[in-house]
Point group: C2
Chain length 542, copies 2
């Protein structure tokens, strides 16, 4: 996962006659990554901290030290580049999200997740945009056009739920976890799609026709990206199942999985689709089919290597955001108008909170109306947690803001500089302050989470407690029959549409898909790849 | 493993408003990597082929197709860049080499390996340089200076023994394998160090003093690089042993190993040392200490993930070399002097063969004189295989040639263009023709290799046959006491110096190093990381 900018910096790095300053930067950066991992591990038990905040803090400290040593010239080792982020850091994070998601929960709550992630993000974006327009006109801040305002909406609608997910337990609160997690992924995709749509649309004439066209485009992107991701995943499963039968090779299998996952992402770029959605669904399909067609060691290797890449990419991002926060060049720009920057940040933070409240509670109400069973209802306390979990702003916001308001990593006008510093302030404040409060808040709202949540959903079956490793990592979305209500009548089909779809999917999966693409229990016994021993070993190996 | 140039090309790749041509290139390239892996796997049983030749062939075919579709304009998807190679592709290959080398064999034959790898490469370089000087003067080819001539020597002294290693079996012919493998690594390092030394030395006045200074610098580089690699490896072992005791986390452990391995490489660059040697010895130390301090799943993950990265990097290089071979821009340059290019290539090939013969046979003779026991003597047939295994030229030669004779991937004069095309010709010819002949040659020279070689060395103990997985991957250099002759007298100490050093090293390792840094049998039992079950599981998991 090496960055385009990193590479630019490194392009002069040759053995012995290198541009020595960039080698020093590289060394420092990699050393700081190691330090973040070690310190994050040491602080793991801490009530308040988490890895993101640790990396942010280390980044900030390093920024201060560099600022002091360089005599106030620069706080940056590497300039933040949105290419770096979108091409190398985001794909492994999203792929691993799909690869390790609990598929049964995800698809069970699919409609709710889509409602929160897509509709909610649109509502949030609209409210933030409208608020910013009104506020900027009152403050008389200058010449932003309509596109800029909607872009600000998209930038601040992109949530970062990593902090919350580190606190929530997938087994204790499966409904809440899957909602927060699923919303996070769909939200990322929606924000990026939205942002790109804004950049490619002509926004000078706003008419209802454009809104419809926009929604049509969004739906097309969503469906096409999903299909592409699933298709690439199935091809990888088919190739490995067909060609590699009888003589497995872990290195080849893992290499193919890795390359095809990345291929799905860049293929989406090729067809002007959303790479985030594509790679997410590619991850889901790979974990459902491909992962069961490979050797034991490939399973362990792929699971942990993908998780590690995602982990390193996340720490990389937070470390970078921390260092970039002190970017002296941009701060100097707004030095004379520091008050303005603070006011803008506060307004944005308020809008973020309002925009999120404006969809979490109404949409939860709607969801609760549709769900008859009390176990699937979202309680008010859970609604607050969902609302809170989406208040943090992170790397996606930073990347989009840099994309919109800078050219080549440098700000060019006062207003742009103010937008960048405000984004940095919002990201830092929300990640550190809201992030630090997350653990105590969840402890307060869900004091006996084990009791509370095992009541909430029948999904925390004994199975997922006895085999937590397998359960959390590679839970197939059809492995536990008792989770599915078989429809006995038309009435049942109407009241439990998701479960019914799930039931027919399972039949289809067993009859058509798995014989063709492999999957749990469908890969014949291969010497050297004992399918039977798999679960046992994996749970031992954790 | 992403490339600096790739990144340059990609720097315009942004979602939805990208430079579409580069996205197409990326897609094609990743798809070709996948194809190479699949086709390489299908052809694995083939008598003649191997993965390198497959990737080269696919690269060549793609080059032809692109050349035809683009109407003769270009055959390249990506311009070959030596930065790409030295910063991202070479480190994982060399690290994995160190990580998976049979340490006992390697250190047992340490003196011979150094003799072949360092002294041999210097001899080879000298002979090629002298030959080229003489030949260029006779052909009256123009204005190359002394530095260029010695650089040509260094370029063509860099061997590529991958083809041979794919054919030789580490368990069947341990002595031969460790000699060829070890020579390959030391040779890579020597060539690069040599090349850099030439570039930084003033070669206008040649005196004996400079030769001495040069040898001194080489020795310093060698010792300092080795120490640095070992130090970083030990620090990683110490960190993981001390901090992670009792609550292991596979993702953190693997991330730390990966980052610290890369850190060792760039630290070497920082101190103007040889990154290749550093990362190689870091790999050795990590597999001896760090690898034993981590969880089961970390062991499996690190082993396979490092091997996969190395594997993908190798295929990447061969695919790239294949495509680059048809680089029309350079060929057009030499179009009018095609005859010259062919003559130069032939002369270079002859010099390569002569230069290698000039050290393999004399040095083998010397080695055989020093070794009293017949099991350690190198037979004439084995000498031929060692000579043959170093005839192939590969990516290191390409990278060095591009570094010396181009500016930014473009050739600038006729003579430089001839040197580039000659290098490409030598690389292609030696890899394809010599590579294809390697399997038959070894079959011919070692017809009953199992019988021949189990006689050759007592190292192919039953243990390494019953647990081939563990044996080939993580063979500690102190696990089998019977391989070590304990010196009973001064006489024994004089006749078997290597074994004696080995014996004292083992005592020191057990008494000081392993209690401090961990290692096999020295990491206390941790729940969730059952050391006892390790070997058993690993051998099942293959």
């Amino acid at each position: 996962m090496v960055a385009s900018h990193l590479a630019d910096v490194l392009s002069k790095l040759q053995p012995l006659n290198s541009d020595h300053a960039s080698v020093v930067s590289m060394n420092l950066f990699v050393a700081l990554l190691c330090a973040s991992i070690v310190i994050g591990h040491l602080l793991e038990e801490n009530r308040w901290m988490n890895e993101s905040i640790t990396a942010l803090a280390i980044g900030l400290c390093t920024g201060v030290i560099i600022l002091l040593t360089s005599g106030g010239k620069s706080s940056r080792l590497l300039v933040f580049s949105e290419d770096l982020f979108f091409i190398y850091l985001l794909p492994p994070i999203i792929f691993n999200a799909g690869f390790s998601v609990k598929k049964k929960q995800f698809f069970r709550n699919f409609i709710t997740i889509m409602l929160f992630g897509a509709v909610g993000t649109l509502i949030s974006c609209t409210i933030i945009s409208l608020g910013v327009i009104k506020f900027f006109k009152e403050m008389d801040l200058g010449s932003l056009d309509m596109g800029d305002f909607i872009a600000i909406g998209a930038i601040f609608a992109a949530t970062d739920s990593v902090c919350t997910l580190q606190v929530l337990n997938q087994d204790e609160t499966p409904l809440l976890y899957s909602l927060v997690f699923g919303e996070g992924v769909v939200n990322d995709a929606t924000s990026v799609v939205l942002f790109n749509a804004i950049q490619s649309f002509d926004l000078t004439n706003t008419s209802p026709g454009i809104a419809l066209e926009f929604i049509g485009k969004f739906l097309y992107l969503f469906v096409a990206s999903t299909m592409l991701g699933a298709a690439v995943g199935l091809v990888s499963a088919y190739i490995i199942k067909t060609l590699y039968f009888g003589r497995h090779s872990t290195d080849r299998e893992f290499a193919l999985m890795m390359l095809m996952a990345y291929l799905s992402y860049i293929m989406a770029e090729l067809f002007y689709l959303s790479g985030i959605l594509t790679v997410f669904f590619c991850g889901i399909v790979m974990s459902h089919y491909t992962w069961h067609n490979v050797t034991e060691s490939s399973r362990i290797t792929s699971k942990h290597a993908f998780a590690t890449l995602s982990f390193v990419a996340e720490i990389f991002i937070f470390l970078h955001v921390g260092m970039d926060a002190l970017d002296i060049e941009t701060w100097r720009f707004v030095n004379d108008r520091r008050g303005t920057s603070i006011i803008v940040s506060s307004v944005l933070l308020a809008l973020v909170m309002a925009g999120r409240a404006a969809f979490v509670f109404p949409l939860s109400y709607l969801t609760n109306l549709a769900n008859k069973s009390p176990s699937d209802k979202i309680s008010f306390r859970q609604q607050i947690i969902i609302w809170w979990s989406g208040l943090m702003r992170g790397a996606v916001s930073m990347a989009l803001a840099y994309n919109q308001f800078t050219r080549g990593g440098h700000t060019q006008s006062h207003l742009n500089a103010i937008m960048i510093t405000s984004t940095i302030t919002v990201v830092l404040f929300s990640t550190v302050v809201f992030g630090l409060l997350t653990k105590p808040l969840i402890r307060f709202l869900l004091p006996h989470s084990k009791v509370t949540t095992s009541m909430l959903s029948e999904q925390s079956s004994p199975k997922s407690i006895t085999t937590p490793f397998l359960g959390s990592a590679m839970d197939s979305f059809d492995d536990s029959p008792k989770g599915v209500h078989r429809p006995s009548s038309i009435r049942a089909l109407l009241t439990t549409p998701t479960h019914t779809v799930h039931y027919y999917w399972r039949k289809f999966d067993n009859a058509v898909m798995r014989p063709m693409f492999g999957g749990r229990g469908f890969v014949p016994f291969v010497p050297g790849s004992p399918t039977e021993r798999s679960e046992q070993n994996l749970s031992q190996l954790h």
